[in-house]
Symmetry: C2
């Protein structure tokens, strides 16, 4: 009998009606002959409401207590879902992250999963029950309740699918799948039917908001097929799977964009070994996440180093760069928050060398200036002015005939 | 250093301001040189809201899932209280019932505490922390989350005080203590400063609403002094302690009343051995709680048996009695839901034989008819018409000079 892990996000269990609809879908999946393990997020705005409550009580929020507080959200939705299943005659049982043995490190509010025991899951499945598991949470090696941070419920679902050897991990959300571009910007964007883990990773890393990087990475490492689909239409969505021969046909799979980044340039740096190392070590010591890094060829013994950071880290990045400018022998530090990244992602790019050139020509024809360029084997990204980014996405989507 | 267990009920932690006030009080208690363990209920109406949510999702609510759902309420309030304490610089840590090892039986929604391990509590105290424990919940011998039913948070607090050998268990609530009668009926009722466990038990059993029977019973069995007081005024309230010589002075301590009962009479029953046994076994088999039982002396070989039951059980009680009437040889079954119980409670009644007589005379002077009478060594109860009960409470309170 196939085993399906079904993960339902916050909007999918947003109110009593939605919870009953999810129960119906689980019952239908069972009738079709599959075993089901469900993973749920907190209902709609529950987590935000709990955070607001905490803010109204105290400015001091020990991370251990924050985790205890917000982890109640999934416990509420999971027990409600089991009740809805019981109403349909489906035997189910809820389990907290702790109860199914999702063991994490002790890094509260953004813990990482170290191990999944899953004994109680296997027992429940063997007894013919549908286990309904709280997403986003675990128990640390020091027996404390932890939460997994952004994308945590997807990570829970993929981890359970991996240890149970599930045939697929279905991620139900409020969109019908992964699109060739953001449909709010490109109305003719189409839903992608199949995409490789590597492409999905590049999309998640460059602004695709449907799946978080960590869940895709976990799925790839454990070869868990993902199926991203809508809990409103229930129709088939996007499969994220290991790369296969068919996929090579699509040279470019999607255009992604991200407006949450800022650019910092350290200019007039002496072209000596170790300069970049010192700069990025200093930034790493401040826990500043660096995304793209571009260093130009040196002209007259000096060079410019540019990098992008999340907008939230911009002030810290500027301060750190300025603090080290003299030691590095740099002539100045400049920054620009009004930038955005537009990226082409496609497994076929490996074997089609002209893609980057076409991308640059297309942007040039639209009078869009390229500020920085960065590439991987299956992705080409350009930093452009933030005001140009939607135009850039539209013209690239058209140029590569993704519509 | 004295150790104080402080239990805060739902209204005491009803909103952000109240939670901060509770944190202030705990900090003050610590400054006065005591170690503190806090036990909290869910905030205000949280439990009711969760139950309403469940009702809107499903008519079928497996007790295991109901417990998982409602146990989140205390987890929210306890983590918020620790945050408020952190804001005041008080080192605290929250613990679920499961985390402090409150082991219960498997009777979901009304589990009984079997054992309290408390290792993590002792560790936290040794580390100079204030443990803040979720009331009302535990973990069953089958590793499931359970809730303790009505009065559960008080039971948690008393159980922790017992195993830790606390000097006192303070029960903070929205009234200033235990009163000589319900102040809404008798405005001149006074707060009782000290009362014995046995008197408090009789009060709880006959309509005193401040403390639940089970918590008082547990406190008496483990000799844990209780101090019932207000979290709005923080002034000293009522101490519930072992009986001492001083207490004997008060012949009558309080007048209580209860309007939630109904009376059933099985009349014309042959006065043979075993008749009452068969009737009450049949009622017990239907899980009908019997309170008072009165059997008259037989006249001409038959007798009447009257008993009281909670109003909710009246229909079941009548049906059961009627079903067995023929077998019992009874001539009829009658019932009256419009009855109430008024009781005098006082440890001094043991050594003052005239109390009951004064009670009956006082009611007779007020033209209040007595329907049934039942006594214990420290209590005398009369069943009267429900419309007479407030008048009965007032005249008895005045007659025994309790004002």
């Amino acid at each position: 009998m196939p085993l399906v892990v079904q993960k339902f996000g916050g909007t999918s269990v947003g109110d009593a009606d939605r919870i009953r609809a999810v129960a119906d879908h689980i019952a239908r999946t069972r009738r079709q002959g599959a075993e089901v393990v469900a993973v749920v997020s907190a209902m709609g705005k529950t987590t935000d409401e709990l955070i607001h409550l905490a803010d109204s009580v105290s400015a001091t929020q020990p991370p251990r207590e924050y985790d205890m507080l917000v982890s109640t959200g999934e416990r509420i939705s999971m027990s409600l879902l089991v009740m809805a299943l019981a109403d349909l005659g489906v035997d189910a049982a809820s389990f907290t992250g702790s109860q199914v043995g999702i063991i994490t490190d002790n890094d509260h509010t953004r813990a990482k999963i170290l191990e999944v025991k899953g004994d109680r899951l296997r027992e429940a499945l063997a007894a013919g029950k549908v286990p309904v598991v709280a997403g986003f949470q675990g128990v640390s090696t020091e027996r404390e309740i932890t939460t997994l941070g952004r994308g945590g419920s997807d990570a829970t679902a993929v981890a359970l699918a991996a240890i149970l050897g599930a045939d697929v991990c279905e991620i139900y959300t409020d969109v019908t799948g992964v699109f060739s571009a953001d449909p709010r910007i490109v109305p003719e964007a189409h839903r992608i039917n199949r995409i490789s883990f590597d492409e999905m990773l590049e999309m998640a890393a460059t602004g695709g908001r449907v799946l978080m990087l960590r869940a895709v990475e976990f799925a790839r490492n454990h070869n868990v097929p993902l199926h991203v689909r809508s809990s409103f239409t229930w129709e088939p969505g996007t499969w994220v799977v290991e790369e296969d021969a068919d996929m090579e046909d699509a040279v470019v799979t999607a255009v992604t964009h991200d407006t949450s980044e800022a650019k910092v340039t350290v200019s007039g740096v002496p072209d000596r070994p170790g300069v970049a190392a010192r700069l990025f070590r200093a930034l790493a010591d401040k826990s500043i996440n660096i995304d793209m890094i571009v260093q130009n060829t040196s002209v007259k013994g000096t060079t410019d180093i540019s990098f992008t950071v999340p907008n939230d880290d911009l002030t810290g990045a500027i301060e750190t760069a300025q603090a080290h400018a003299e030691e590095l022998g740099a002539s100045g530090v400049t920054a620009d928050a009004e930038v955005a990244r537009v990226s082409l992602v496609g497994a076929g790019m490996k074997s089609h060398p002209g893609i980057a050139a076409t991308m640059f020509e297309t942007l040039a024809d639209e009078q869009i200036n390229i500020d920085m360029i960065s590439t991987s084997t299956i992705r080409t990204s350009c930093i452009v002015a933030e005001e140009d980014v939607e135009r850039a996405v539209r013209c690239l989507h058209a140029a590569f005939a993704l519509g």
